[in-house]
């Protein structure tokens, strides 16, 4: 079989993926949980992450808790402890950055890293660099990572998935075709149901068959992103790493589930208003303003309805957004329907600046709001989130987010050290359980 590429590593790209990340964070700090099925996401009512033992029982992501208890009665179901997961995620990226500054933090539990050209300075082969990074991660974090090394992102993703968990797979350009021959085309990153169906119609089943299609054919039937995937499957480096770009956002999203599900109009609106306030806090933190807002409601049976609307101008204040959102909310809400979550997505973000002159005194109004929220943010920093909040979200603050069984807080929030408060804890992850 002819190889797809004659060069092994014109670029050397790593994809590194934490194995069952959230569940592993839990298992690694509690020896009691090791070797047992562990599921996180209790507060949401669905599985957010499950350990390999739980996966073996048939638990899948998004499965409801009742279903999990039926299939896997011995499963330990825990509330998510995002504080700890984020601390460990930061460590994950910091360790990879010991080797290269070019790291793309793709999500909380996976990253891409470009190690091209580092063989000489590090005195190691690419394979050894990948091994060393994996070793550092596994020992420092106490659970395993899967690593893929390849000439580009699409193939690195294939490589890291090749032998999960705790795999290290190296796919040099010259061996690319051997891997792709065994891979169903729908397993390629970025190829979804629609594209798979179309490819199947043309008799393309494996990733290799897709890669071997002539360029003209690909360009004729597919849009640019798929052409780019085709190029990467042939060993080219097309998708650049987005490194260190997390100081700005394209959209900001806040979604929160609440229990019990409610059909109470003011209560559901208060939940939405609280999400909008939270989204605006983040907006102001990064000195951004939004011009378009999408709100959605999720019903008890997981049915989503949404509405998108434009604002009259860029803003970073919940007052302005609620003004537009409240009439839309009335439109969106179906009476007597039980809702379980609300969400908001702020789009069309730009840098916040309220200097532009206008005829209608808008600048003065925004300047006042800006002064007001500067004080609100100062109070928040000093006394905690939601020290001051809008009347619209009052009902969401007076009720606990979750009632009953699902309302368990993560254990770390109870296991306070002397001097810690429920609001501020040491930024060092903790081993849990009795230490004798």
């Amino acid at each position: 079989m002819a190889p797809l590429s004659l060069h092994d590593f014109p670029r050397a790209i790593l994809h590194i993926d934490g194995d069952a990340f959230f569940a592993s964070c839990e298992q690694s700090r509690r020896p009691k949980l090791q070797g047992r099925p562990v599921v996180t996401g209790k507060e949401r009512g669905i599985a957010a992450s499950m350990s390999y033992e739980a996966k073996a029982c048939g638990v899948t992501r998004g499965m409801r808790l009742a279903e999990i208890r039926k299939r896997c009665p011995e499963a330990v179901i825990l509330p998510s402890d995002y504080e700890t997961y984020s601390l460990l995620s930061k460590r994950f990226f910091a360790i990879v950055r010991r080797y290269t500054p070019d790291v793309e933090e793709y999500s909380i539990d996976e990253c891409f890293a470009d190690v091209t050209g580092l063989r000489r300075p590090l005195r190691m082969s690419y394979h050894q660099i990948a091994e060393r990074i994996k070793h550092d991660l596994d020992t420092a974090l106490g659970f395993t990572f899967s690593v893929g090394l390849a000439p580009n992102k699409v193939v690195a993703k294939i490589a890291s998935k090749w032998a999960k968990p705790s795999g290290l797979t190296v796919i040099p350009g010259r061996e690319l075709h051997q891997y792709l021959a065994q891979l169903p085309v729908e397993k390629v990153w970025g190829i979804g149901h629609q594209t798979t169906a179309l490819l199947h119609k043309h008799g393309v089943q494996t990733a290799l068959q897709f890669a071997r299609q002539p360029e003209a054919w690909v360009k004729k039937y597919f849009s640019k992103p798929f052409y780019q995937i085709w190029q990467e499957l042939n060993g080219a480096y097309i998708f650049e790493l987005v490194t260190g770009e997390h100081d700005t956002y394209h959209t900001i999203q806040k979604v929160k589930t609440f229990t019990q599900p409610s059909s109470h109009r003011e209560f559901v609106f208060a939940q939405l208003a609280k999400n909008i306030e939270n989204a605006c806090i983040k907006l102001r933190k990064y000195q951004l303003a939004t011009e378009r807002v999408l709100i959605f409601l999720r019903s008890q049976d997981f049915h989503d309805t949404d509405l998108e609307m434009d604002l009259s101008g860029p803003t970073s204040f919940p007052n302005d957004i609620l003004h537009v959102v409240s009439p839309a909310f009335v439109q969106l809400l179906t009476p007597a329907t039980l809702y379980r979550a609300t969400g908001v997505i702020l789009c069309k973000l730009s840098e916040a600046s309220y200097g532009q002159l206008d005829l209608f005194g808008e600048v003065i109004r925004l300047q006042r709001l800006s002064n007001l929220y500067e004080s609100v943010d100062t109070l928040r920093e000093k006394y905690g989130k939601h020290t001051v909040f809008l009347g619209a979200s009052f009902l969401a603050h007076t009720h606990a987010q979750h009632e009953g069984d699902r309302g368990h807080l993560p254990e770390r929030q109870h296991a306070l050290l002397p001097g810690e408060t429920t609001r501020k804890r040491l930024g060092i992850p903790m081993f849990m359980g009795e230490v004798r």
């Binding site: 009691k32 950055r97 020992t139 420092a140 974090l141 997390h246 849990m432 230490v435 004798r436």
Partner: protein, 189 residues
């Protein structure tokens, strides 16, 4: 040579009021590869001349803080105080070696009481470190954390408490050492 580079970076910091990016750094010090700039940064971070934030961006280290005030003459003699302060470290730096592998935990039992570790004490432990004979370690025994002295006699290893009421643990199978204790913290109030 390094002090020359440092001066160039300090000059950039003075005129721009911020630290350079890696590509700017290359231009500032006249390097042609990002990797060389990266290694320079690593070296400076090692010496505490520079810092990096969680995303790898450069932060001004100690040598950037009090730049213009060094040696200001007020009473005839330059004050050595600021200069001397560059050789101090924070409590974090003092207690924590491998930052990414350090965890905290709270002691419940009294098996190390004769080593001065009391219930309620906090420990800073380093995951994955190689234990040496006499180190206090956190081992995993019967799905529990246990804190003991790590003892090595030839090829044999065992765990020993600092409390006469506890028997040494001679592991039947492989001994699982999760972490080595680096510091004990006892905070009053």
């Amino acid at each position: 040579m390094d002090s020359h580079y440092l001066k160039q970076i300090q000059a950039f910091y003075r005129s721009h009021k911020r630290m350079p990016s890696y590509s700017e750094l290359m231009a500032v010090v006249g390097f042609r590869s990002k990797n060389a700039a990266y290694k320079l940064v690593e070296r400076f971070v090692q010496r505490d001349w520079l810092d990096k934030d969680a995303t790898g961006r450069l932060l001004p280290g100690r040598l950037f803080q009090d730049l213009p005030v060094l040696g200001t003459v007020s009473a005839g003699f330059p004050s050595p105080a600021d200069e001397e302060l560059t050789d101090t470290m924070s409590l974090d730096e003092y207690l924590i070696g491998n930052k990414e592998a350090t965890y905290i935990l709270k002691v419940n039992g009294n098996s190390m009481i004769d080593a001065g570790i009391l219930p309620g004490d906090m420990l800073l432990v380093e995951r994955g470190a190689d234990p040496r004979d006499g180190d206090i370690v956190i081992a995993q025994v019967d799905r529990e954390w246990t804190m003991k002295y790590f003892r090595k006699r030839g090829a044999a290893v065992f765990l020993e408490a600092a409390n006469k009421d506890y028997q040494p643990i001679h592991p039947q199978e492989e001994l699982k050492i999760a972490a080595v204790v680096r510091a004990v913290i006892r905070k009053y109030h």
